[in-house]
């Protein structure tokens, strides 16, 4: 297989009338998706999308999925834009892509026009009404190779300029094969999609379904404010598999929402994107003793995931979860000064294999910095991706995440990982959320927390019992609400901005 559309063809032939993607209002079957993708592909190819970027200015819904598949049929690569962002931020992405087409829908046409991006502007409604040109699409498909780009996904660079991670058809084919086999996705699977389509985790939902014939229920974002309603919606839509960011699982745990309604029929509960607080996981496991829980790890540069840990034992509320071991067809190396780290020694996690992105779009220097020759291989060129994450192996041979290399704090002469402090704090009763930051100006650790009541004294006492003096926060700051970014994760940039205002 060399093209992601082959997954769509195969599933549409096998399950033509089965629901493929559903949002709150609409749904589409596999054959319907194939047909509309061909119509959209024809319209996009005629507008010069072949081999070029198509920017999708669409909601988190079925229309956006159509835009993705249409782009692939046209031989182009898509980028999903975040329509909630101000125009100026959206342009920082499109300025790097120079899209051939800006694809939107009737509801967003005016905003899209005002954006003034792309060589041409199309709506999904108009494009889907185009009669498909089979010869054109076939000709495009024949000329494509598996290293052609499928999409470019932007991550917020630490310097502020978003970096576009260029992902090929091969990357997604290899990755989705692993995901489907490992978690047993099939036509019986109903995935409850939480993550936005401009975030790498959504790739598992979308292409996991495309490969396996699973159905994706795109969950309305607003239900993540109403946890009991969210659970009832999962039940109503027969969702049995979820892959969410820990903060989204945390909302349900914080409100103890599973105690207030019939728990939905979940069998597989996966999470990634940030550290999962074990206390929140334990709440879910109590309600789903039979379900499969897995902690997934990976940067966008490895398509979505490169390591995983299926939860196979009990953990105390303040014990960290491992990130486990490498996915099939993805090699992991723990490197320290150009050699493999010793057992138990921390090193930088590096990945090799067919999950590795082609690089950063339009940024050859940044690409060369992170995607470089494997120092352990001198016989032929072999690229590894340096994640910038520190890890070590525990006694069981499982990888333990030890934090970002560039977030490492040097405090009182010790190297400190804020995640360890957060993990220790999370055992505290009534604690909803927390994040530890280092205030460089005043050389002190600050623990931001969200709790139903003032927990400062309790946390101070707890951490004094569990952490050495140099790891104890100097300041505890209670927030009504932990700030979140668009992906639903803790917004550490916003927290950083608050440091200067603390007493």
């Amino acid at each position: 297989m060399k093209n992601l559309l082959e997954l769509l063809d195969r599933t549409a032939a096998r399950l033509p009338d089965a629901p493929a993607f559903c949002d709150e209002e609409t749904s589409i079957t596999w054959s319907g998706l194939k047909q509309k993708a061909a119509a959209l592909g024809t319209a996009l190819a005629r507008q010069g999308a072949r081999g070029r970027s198509v920017a999708l200015y669409l909601d988190h819904n079925v229309a956006c999925i159509l835009g993705m598949m249409g782009t692939l049929a046209a031989g182009g690569f898509y980028t999903v834009l975040d329509i909630a962002q101000p125009a100026e931020r959206v342009r920082r992405i499109t300025d790097q892509l120079h899209p051939a087409v800006l694809l939107t829908d009737a509801a967003h046409l005016e905003a899209a026009r005002a954006l003034g991006v792309g060589d041409c502007l199309l709506t999904v409604e108009d494009a889907a009404a185009t009669p498909m040109d089979e010869n054109l699409l076939q000709e495009i498909r024949t000329a494509m190779v598996d290293t052609d780009l499928a999409y470019v996904l932007f991550t917020s660079g630490s310097t502020g300029l978003p970096k576009g991670v260029a992902i090929t058809h091969r990357n997604v084919l290899a990755y989705s094969e692993w995901a489907v086999e490992t978690f047993g996705f099939g036509p019986h699977t109903v995935l409850g999609n939480q993550t936005p389509f401009y975030f790498s985790m959504s790739v598992t939902d979308i292409y996991g379904a495309l490969r396996s014939g699973a159905c994706v229920q795109i969950l309305p974002r607003r239900f993540f404010s109403f946890p009991v309603q969210l659970l009832d919606y999962l039940t109503q839509r027969r969702v049995n598999t979820i892959y969410w960011v820990p903060s989204a699982l945390g909302i349900v745990a914080n409100w103890k929402a599973l105690d207030y309604t019939t728990p939905p029929p979940l069998r597989t509960i996966l999470f990634a994107g940030e550290v999962m607080p074990t206390a929140k996981l334990n709440y879910w496991r109590f309600h789903y003793p039979q379900a499969l829980f897995a902690n997934l790890y990976g940067p966008t540069e490895t398509t979505d995931i490169c390591a995983y840990y299926v939860v196979d034992r009990d953990f105390a509320d303040d014990e960290p979860l491992p990130i486990g071991r490498a996915c099939a067809n993805c090699g992991l190396l723990v490197l320290k000064e150009g050699r493999l780290a010793e057992a138990g020694e921390e090193g930088e996690l590096c990945a090799r294999g067919s999950f590795l992105a082609a690089g950063y779009y339009g940024l050859p220097e940044k690409t060369a910095e992170r995607f470089c020759q494997n120092p352990l291989q001198s016989a032929y060129p072999e690229i590894i991706y340096r994640t910038g994450d520190l890890v070590r192996y525990n006694d069981r041979g499982e990888l333990i995440y030890c934090g970002r290399m560039d977030h490492q704090i040097k405090h009182m002469g010790y190297r400190i990982e804020p995640g360890e402090i957060e993990t220790a704090a999370f055992g505290q009763d009534k604690l909803d959320n927390c994040a530890c930051l280092y205030d460089q100006q005043r050389d002190r650790l600050v623990l931001f927390y969200q709790g139903k009541r003032d927990l400062t004294d309790a946390l101070r006492e707890r951490l004094a019992q569990r952490l050495p003096p140099y790891m104890r926060p100097a300041v505890y700051h209670r927030l009504k609400l932990m700030p979140q970014n668009q992906n639903g994760k803790i917004d550490r940039i916003a927290l950083g901005a608050m440091l200067a205002d603390l007493p």
């Binding site: 909630a84 103890k256 105690d259």
Partner: protein
């Protein structure tokens, strides 16, 4: 009984610039996103000394300023 004025004041504090008509849709239109609603729940609990339970945390109780006022008055009575 609390008044619409009190609710609008809190809404304006949670989301500066938000001054909706009593029956204006706030949730489906995205005027209140999930982060705003959590902040609103905290603010209501504190201001009116109420306990919003998971069962009260429903879209129908938050989708307009009027619905929020009705919820607050109901919880205050309980």
């Amino acid at each position: 009984m609390y008044t619409m004025e009190q609710i609008l004041k809190i809404l304006g504090e949670v989301k500066p610039g938000l001054a909706p008509a009593p029956d204006e849709e706030l949730v489906k239109t995205g005027q209140l996103d999930s982060v705003d609603i959590m902040a609103l729940v905290m603010a209501l609990s504190e201001e009116f000394d109420l306990e919003v339970t998971p069962l009260d945390l429903k879209e129908e109780n938050f989708h307009t300023a009027q619905a929020i006022l009705d919820l607050v008055n109901r919880l205050a009575e309980e």
